[in-house]
């Protein structure tokens, strides 16, 4: 498919000196070939970008448009947004919906909860995934059985997991509080206490995602050359030392991938707090104990449908704020990745290579 830019297709006869036409042809073919080499890859990946433009970019831009309008689910577009009584202004402004959202205590509570749940779930989850992967990487009997086992919770539908956990964490009839009652400990107010509710939701998240991350880390671990481990054993490293000094440094790129995907997923957390909500109203708890940003945006857009209220406009504003937060985190992660890739990863690998050689 790609023409070789230098190989001529004519029989090789020594070209007459200074044959301008031939030279031009050759040069043109070279240019075409170079163009081809440059362009073809973009054409091959263009289907992705076309699909992305359709399913990602267009909604993104359209949401930005809606965020500047007084958009109601039922009555539709009602003109440029107005902030209203909340910020004491009735002037139309394309930032009015954003102003309104930033003036809502609910939004800040949601932001606090999102970060809290994200930290409580992601950090223990990745540590657990790393340890589990290290164990699964060892010489076990019935390897496949154990490896499939860690993935099982991931296969369970999020709503199914949430239903099971909401029964475990029910305040009065729940499994945990019943058990605590037996041993004489006062019950934990899972839905009333902010931190308790975050721990409960984080445990649902960890239940589902630890196995998934374990398998990704395991796959990366399997790609580490065995002789590196052998060398470290010869050097007298124990299992823990091996994990800290050999496995983790060599896992860096994969770890970064897992951290980034967990960050994006964690900041968009929705299913678990939604299902953790008791009953059918008051999403995120009566005092917004576990309202997350995604849950807030959904509640705003699809449950508050009073005519005259620009519910979709405000919801779109929340969506954009969430988008910006996730992008900010992605950039921080990207910078971190570059630092680690240039400073940490490569020398570490060289160092081990040297060790192996020795």
């Amino acid at each position: 498919m790609t023409a070789n830019p230098v190989a001529p297709d004519k029989p090789q006869t020594p070209p007459p000196a200074h044959d301008d036409a031939h030279e031009r042809r050759l040069r043109a073919r070279g240019r075409r070939g170079r163009l081809d080499v440059r362009l073809s890859p973009y054409l091959y990946i263009s289907p992705f970008f076309l699909l992305f433009a359709l399913t990602g970019l267009f909604p993104l831009i359209y949401t930005a448009w809606v965020a500047t309008r007084q958009w109601n689910t039922i009555t539709g577009d009602g003109g440029v947004a107005v902030c209203g009584a909340v910020c004491g202004s009735t002037d139309p402004s394309i930032f009015a919906n954003f102003q309104w959202v930033l003036n809502q205590p609910a939004f800040w509570d949601a932001l606090r909860n999102t970060f809290s749940i994200f930290l409580i779930s992601t950090i223990p989850q990745l540590i657990a995934a790393l340890i589990l992967a290290a164990i699964l990487d060892a010489n076990l009997k019935a390897k496949t059985f154990w490896r499939m086992g860690v993935l099982l919770p991931y296969v369970i539908a999020p709503s199914a997991a949430a239903i099971i956990f909401s029964q475990i964490f029910s305040d009065q009839s729940g499994l945990i509080n019943t058990f605590l009652g037996w041993i004489g400990v006062s019950p934990v107010p899972w839905h009333a206490n902010t931190l308790a509710s975050h721990i409960a939701i984080a445990s649902i998240v960890n239940f589902r995602w630890t196995g998934y991350n374990t398998l990704i880390l395991l796959a990366a671990m399997q790609a580490i050359p065995r002789d590196v481990f052998e060398a470290s054993v010869v050097d007298g490293a124990g299992r823990v030392r091996q994990l800290v000094s050999v496995t983790i440094p060599m896992l860096r790129p994969t770890l970064i991938f897992v951290i980034i995907t967990s960050t994006i997923g964690g900041l968009q957390i929705f299913d678990e707090p939604q299902m953790f909500t008791q009953g059918t109203s008051g999403y995120g708890g009566p005092n917004r104990q576990f309202l997350t940003v995604s849950l807030y945006l959904w509640d705003l857009g699809f449950n508050h449908v009073s005519i005259g209220q620009p519910n979709l406009g405000r919801s779109a504003a929340v969506a954009w704020l969430l988008f910006l937060i996730v992008v900010a985190f992605a950039i921080v992660n990207f910078l971190l990745t570059r630092r680690i890739a240039s400073a940490g990863g490569a020398p570490a690998r060289k160092h081990h290579a040297k060790e192996v050689a020795r």
Binding site: L50, I74, S173, Q278, G282
Partner: protein
């Protein structure tokens, strides 16, 4: 080199724009949920959206029903009915709002809960006038009023109503030394002159005697109270009066005082704890609209004994829930859909639904039908539920006005009550103040 790259991006971007334009065109042209409903043989498919259990379809173990679709299809061989059931009215509402706002994708017949009826009545032009189709049907005056615009356009046809009695646990009453016979219980709570004060007074006796809760949830009881206030959160011009209405504050104070005195089981409505409590001894009474009997039976188990119902309601009659059928103008088969909606809400069909699934008819003719009037409920100790709910429906004198903002404000009120009663993190005054802030934020 640089140029070539840029050209490449340009081509990609251009193609993307083209693709977008093409998709936009095809969307506008053909996407319609109710498209292609009539085939060559004149066969018509009517798509119906309902939620919870309207009792219209074929009965199953978990969902009692009167099998009305099969009956209608047998009488009208050219009609095929396709019912889609949403798990909750919230789910149905979200899908419905999207369909109406985008102008596509609505079902031919939509079931609408009374709490979101105001948003329908605010835009009558989007719906078919069903008055001409439902000429022979009759409804209670207030039910008909809720579905009719001021200038007489019939937008919604009433299905059921939710007249409320008091369901109580006769075994727990006996243990507390209270009467257990349903007529005596009605008298105990004040009979025809029952008031909320009397209800909480008896509740205090029960709680003092047993140390157990009297009612299930503050939010549930408040709902019963607020449904007796004609203008609660919104006045008739649509102004929000929630913060200044003394009736709302008085109801809030009464309920929270009773809750803090130990009368509430501290359960959040529809939560797992709430559902599980119907087979425990956690509370002795609950407000009981007709359709709620299915919920109690489902939560407690059909073989559970002890639940009974008294023909009484504090503060006069009360209505909780009840639905309507509407036909969106965008339907491709609105003629046929309107005919079906009128048939479903005719007295005979409403009576059949009550017999099968406990949803109480809004038609006086259906209420007088022997299959309704003489119905007894084995689960409630053979209570004559047909008679009791007919009396309860007659006692409803106030039709609460629910303006556009009502639903949101009431949701926030439930949160406020739950902060005092369920999570116990705030005093009534703190919680009420926060509610005022929440209401302000709803502007």
């Amino acid at each position: 080199m640089k140029n070539a790259t840029r050209k490449g991006f340009g081509a990609v971007a251009g193609a993307a724009v083209l693709a977008l334009a093409a998709s936009a065109c095809s969307n506008g042209g053909s996407d319609d949920a109710s498209g292609d409903t009539t085939d060559a043989g004149g066969q018509v498919t009517i798509k119906v959206s309902t939620f919870n259990n309207f009792g219209l379809g074929a009965p199953s173990d978990t969902r009692p029903g009167a099998d009305l679709w099969a009956k209608y299809e047998a009488e009208h061989p050219n009609v095929k009915i396709d019912e889609v059931v949403a798990a909750s009215s919230d789910d149905a509402r979200a899908a419905f709002n999207t369909a109406i706002s985008t102008g596509t994708g609505a079902y031919d017949i939509q079931a609408v809960d009374v709490d979101w009826m105001p948003s329908i009545m605010a835009q009558p032009d989007a719906f078919v006038d069903l008055g001409a189709y439902a000429g022979d049907n009759d409804w209670l005056d207030w039910k008909k009023e809720q579905g009719t615009t001021p200038d007489g356009k019939v937008v919604g046809l009433g299905t059921d109503i939710g007249p409320e009695g008091i369901c109580y646990r006769s075994d727990l009453f006996a243990a507390a030394g209270l009467p257990t016979d349903r007529a005596e219980v009605a008298t105990l709570l004040g009979g025809a002159d029952a008031t909320w004060d009397k209800y909480f007074e008896v509740g205090q006796q029960y709680t003092d005697a047993t140390g157990k809760a009297w009612f299930d949830s503050s939010a549930a009881v408040f709902q019963g109270m607020v449904n007796q206030i004609e203008y609660s959160h919104v006045d008739k011009d649509g102004n929000v009066i929630a913060g200044t209405n003394p009736d709302v504050k008085a109801a809030f104070d009464k309920v929270t005082a009773a809750a803090l005195a130990g009368q509430s089981a501290g359960l959040q409505q529809w939560s797992d704890d709430f559902n599980a409590a119907f087979k425990s001894d956690k509370f002795a009474t609950t407000l009981c609209p007709a359709w709620f009997i299915n919920n109690i039976k489902g939560n407690a188990g059909a073989d559970f004994t002890g639940w009974d119902i008294a023909d009484v309601f504090p503060g006069g009659g009360g209505n909780w829930g009840g639905s309507f059928l509407v036909v969106p103008e965008q339907s491709k088969v609105k003629e046929e859909a309107a005919k079906l909606a009128a048939w479903i809400t005719a007295p005979e069909q409403q009576a059949a639904v009550f017999a099968a699934a406990s949803n109480f008819p809004s038609s006086p003719t259906a209420q007088a039908d022997p299959s309704v009037a003489d119905k007894t409920e084995p689960f409630l100790n053979d209570a004559p539920v047909g008679q009791i709910f007919a009396n309860r429906a007659k006692a409803v004198t106030v039709v609460p006005f629910k303006g556009a903002q009502y639903f949101d404000i009431q949701t926030k009120m439930a949160d406020a009550l739950n902060r005092v009663d369920v999570t116990k993190e705030q005093s009534p005054q703190q919680s009420f103040d926060q509610w005022l802030q929440d209401v302000k934020a709803l502007s």
